[in-house]
């Protein structure tokens, strides 16, 4: 079953990724795009640098894709996370799933991104228009 997790230092191209989750047997695809936004926690964001512990993040990310498929009856799961410098408006993460059932596709996609945030070792180094950068370490 096509279940994938990838880290990329290049800009994420959603047009290419959505083709990779095409499945003629499935009527429903749900896609989540996480984008770098202009403000976070009241501060003006210039860019973000994402750091990953790749040797752990890649198998953990794949485990997220596999668990998503097993729990939610979807046929394709593709998760791509950007690393390195990501500027305003660019995609930090792209998650796409396909299913025969619309509701399952929504549930699966929401599960995949929540699970990625919880268990894949990636960190956000937020750089601001004013003042020095900060690492974000939200407590669970």
């Amino acid at each position: 079953m096509p279940l994938r997790f990838e880290l990329t230092a290049d800009p994420i191209d959603p047009a290419v990724l959505r083709e990779r989750i095409e499945d003629l047997d499935c009527g429903a695809a749900v896609i989540f795009e996480g984008r770098v936004r202009r403000h976070n926690r009241g501060r003006s964001v210039d860019h973000i640098v994402y750091e990953a512990f790749a040797s752990v993040a890649v198998p953990e990310g794949l485990a997220v894709a596999e668990e998503t498929a097993r729990l939610h009856d979807v046929t394709r799961v593709l998760i791509v996370h950007r690393i390195g410098k990501v500027v305003l408006g660019e995609l930090a993460v792209w998650v796409g799933v396909t299913s025969i059932h619309r509701d399952l596709a929504f549930q699966a996609c929401a599960f995949a991104i929540a699970s990625l945030k919880a268990r894949v070792p990636i960190w956000k180094h937020e750089h601001y228009a004013d003042g020095g950068p900060e690492w974000l370490h939200p407590l669970p």
């Binding site: 996480g34 994402y50 750091e51 990953a52 512990f53 040797s55 752990v56 993040a57 198998p59 953990e60 996370h81 930090a92 993460v93 991104i113 990625l116 945030k117 919880a118 268990r119 894949v120 070792p121 990636i122 960190w123 956000k124 180094h125 690492w135 974000l136 370490h137 939200p138 407590l139 669970p140």
Partner: protein, 80 residues
């Protein structure tokens, strides 16, 4: 006495400091190692907030350490 390699990530890596270094420890216990490094670097996180990875796999804190293990203490994630 064993020697392990410790990798540092995100806010737990001193700015300008090394990404990895070899550390000698008397007790092959990850919690002891964590507290030793925490005292040295002033890490703010209690070990409860930290995930332990040994040789590229996330493991429980009880996982025994061995010579040349690659150890990483992972602060809360913020991907996505």
């Amino acid at each position: 006495m064993i020697e392990v390699e410790v990798r540092y990530f995100a806010s737990m890596r001193n700015p300008g400091g090394p990404e990895r270094e070899r550390v000698a420890l008397a007790d092959a216990d990850a919690r002891v190692l964590y507290e030793q490094l925490r005292a040295r670097f002033g890490w703010k996180f209690d070990s409860h907030a930290i995930r332990l990875a040994v040789n590229g796999r996330m493991v429980a804190w009880e996982h025994p350490l061995a010579e040349d293990d690659e150890i990483a203490f992972l602060p809360p994630f913020s991907g996505g």
